[in-house]
């Protein structure tokens, strides 16, 4: 609690006075299912990266390297769009309870 600001220290009207701050706001704990990545079936089409609504697909050297689960909300769009290799998907959704 000690790092919370007092009211006189806040920006006018609750403005957040810079861009790109969503990365600091962890929202992944809403998720009820998570994407599981199987690189063997991945053709590196990057559809998952394009379609992810919350930039939760991590790229490394232009290739899919996994998911940022602090921001992934488990919507499953990546798994839905994934064409996979020979009709076997590289992304499948798994329930969090498992």
């Amino acid at each position: 609690m000690s790092e919370l600001k007092k009211y006189k220290e806040l920006a006018l009207g609750g403005n957040i006075e810079k861009g790109g701050t969503a990365v600091d706001f962890k929202t992944g704990d809403w998720r009820s299912s998570r994407p599981v990545y199987n690189p063997e079936n991945c053709i590196q089409c990057l559809f998952c990266w394009v379609y992810c609504p919350d930039s939760a697909v991590i790229l490394k050297d232009g290739k899919v390297a996994g998911f940022n689960l602090e921001h992934c909300k488990g919507c499953g769009i990546c798994a839905h769009e994934c064409p996979g290799k020979k009709k076997v998907k590289a992304i499948v959704m798994e329930e969090e309870v498992k």
Binding site: L4, K5, E17, K18
Partner: protein, 391 residues
């Protein structure tokens, strides 16, 4: 500086003030009895007399939403409404204040349904009194004109940054023709100055987020900051009113005392009723009755200290409320004033009178009768009565 004398209704006066302010955006939806304000203004737009972008929306909720968007984008923004229209804006009224957007709105006070009614009482704007807006009442069209111009300065002041609502009384002021002194366009522009939005969404070099969620951690702090802004506005309203007076001869404060300092009996009122009361007071003074009036011009922020001081030497005070807080102890003006006086060592006897709902006429005889009842000790202290209703 030569003033321009014109015959104007309250609505025409407010539309003229808006024209001379020449805001960047007006978003509005028509409603009786405020329709003319934006109708006349839209004619100014059509005739090219203002540079304003006029947004014709599909409801008042959308009107205030569009105002919030345009103000956040950095545009000087104004609107006008009344009654059910203001009620439909209610959700957005709180958002405009919470986001600290200096929108200026004309509200023509009108009763709220049901029963449906188009005439004056103050229930519409009083319903917004806790939202964080600066709330100014007008006694006549002249005050409405002058306050609309001052409102721009008050709202945009760096220590305030709150939306401002300037009200008139439906039909009584909005449709009553008066002689008013108006200012040349250039004088109005000089007075209000250039708008500095501080931060705005169209500034691509400084991206920022507006309207982010605040949960248990920060909501309270942001509302608390609004309390400071309201308190700061007490000083700013007085400074702007004094500067207006210095430049244009008619100064404004938070309250106005009329024959009050040596009064034995006094009434407190807002809006057009103050004009009627002044005439009655002049007549009573000629007969030797020491009657006086405390007019409240600014209801938010509530000028607690000034009011307590202004009333401390009066024997008996009647507070007139043109709206009722149904189920509460008296109307909003009564409860505020009674609370303001509670801490004073010297305080008058006080009684509340709810009057004029739905445009019910209050005439000189009624006000005179009230003064005479106060003088004769016939008014029961700490009571609330309904003046002019058939009981």
């Amino acid at each position: 500086m030569q003033k321009i004398i014109l015959a104007k209704t309250g609505n025409e006066a407010m539309a003229l003030a808006m024209k001379q302010v020449n805001p960047d955006v007006v978003a509005a939806y028509p409603i009786t009895p405020a329709t003319e304000i934006v109708q006349i203004f839209s004619q100014y737009v059509a005739d090219g007399e203002v540079k304003t972008e006029f947004v014709a929306v599909e409801s008042e909720h959308s009107a205030m939403s569009a105002c919030i968007g345009s103000c956040a984008a950095g545009a000087r923004t104004m609107t006008g409404t009344s009654s059910q229209g203001l009620a439909l804006m209610y959700e957005m009224i709180y958002i405009a204040a919470g986001l600290r957007l200096p929108i200026v709105m004309a509200d023509v006070n009108r009763a709220l349904s049901a029963p449906i009614n188009i005439h004056c009482d103050h229930s519409d704007s009083m319903g917004c009194r806790d939202a964080g807006w600066v709330h100014i009442f007008s006694e006549n069209a002249q005050e409405a004109y002058d306050s609309m111009i001052q409102a721009v300065r008050i709202a945009e002041h760096k220590d305030v940054r709150l939306p401002v609502m300037v009200t008139t009384d439906g039909f009584i002021i909005s449709h009553g023709m008066e002689r008013i002194d108006t200012l040349p366009d250039a004088e109005v522009q000089n007075f209000i100055g250039k708008y500095d939005p501080l931060m705005h969404l169209l500034d691509v070099k400084k991206p920022f987020t507006i309207g982010a969620i605040n949960l248990t951690d920060y909501y309270f702090e942001h509302r608390r900051a609004m309390v400071d802004a309201q308190n700061n506005s007490l000083k700013v309203i007085k400074e702007v009113g004094a500067e207006f007076g210095k430049k244009f001869d008619t100064g404004y404060g938070l309250i106005e005392k009329y024959q009050l300092d040596d009064a034995e009996v006094a009434i407190v009122a807002l809006g057009s009723t103050c004009g009627t009361a002044k005439v009655v007071i002049d007549q009573l003074r000629a007969k030797g009755v020491k009657a006086g009036l405390l007019k409240i011009r600014v209801f938010r922020p509530f000028p607690t200290e000034e009011i307590a001081k202004a009333l401390e030497n009066i024997k008996t005070v009647a507070v007139l409320d043109r709206s009722d807080s149904v189920g509460g102890f008296g109307g909003p003006v009564f409860t505020e004033i009674r609370s303001a006086l509670y801490g004073s060592a010297k305080r008058p006897q006080i009684a509340g009178f709810v009057y004029g709902l739905g445009g019910r006429e209050i005439d000189m005889e009624q006000i005179e009768g009230l003064f005479m009842d106060l003088k004769a000790g016939k008014v029961k202290a700490d009571s609330v009565s309904y003046l002019g209703v058939r009981e």
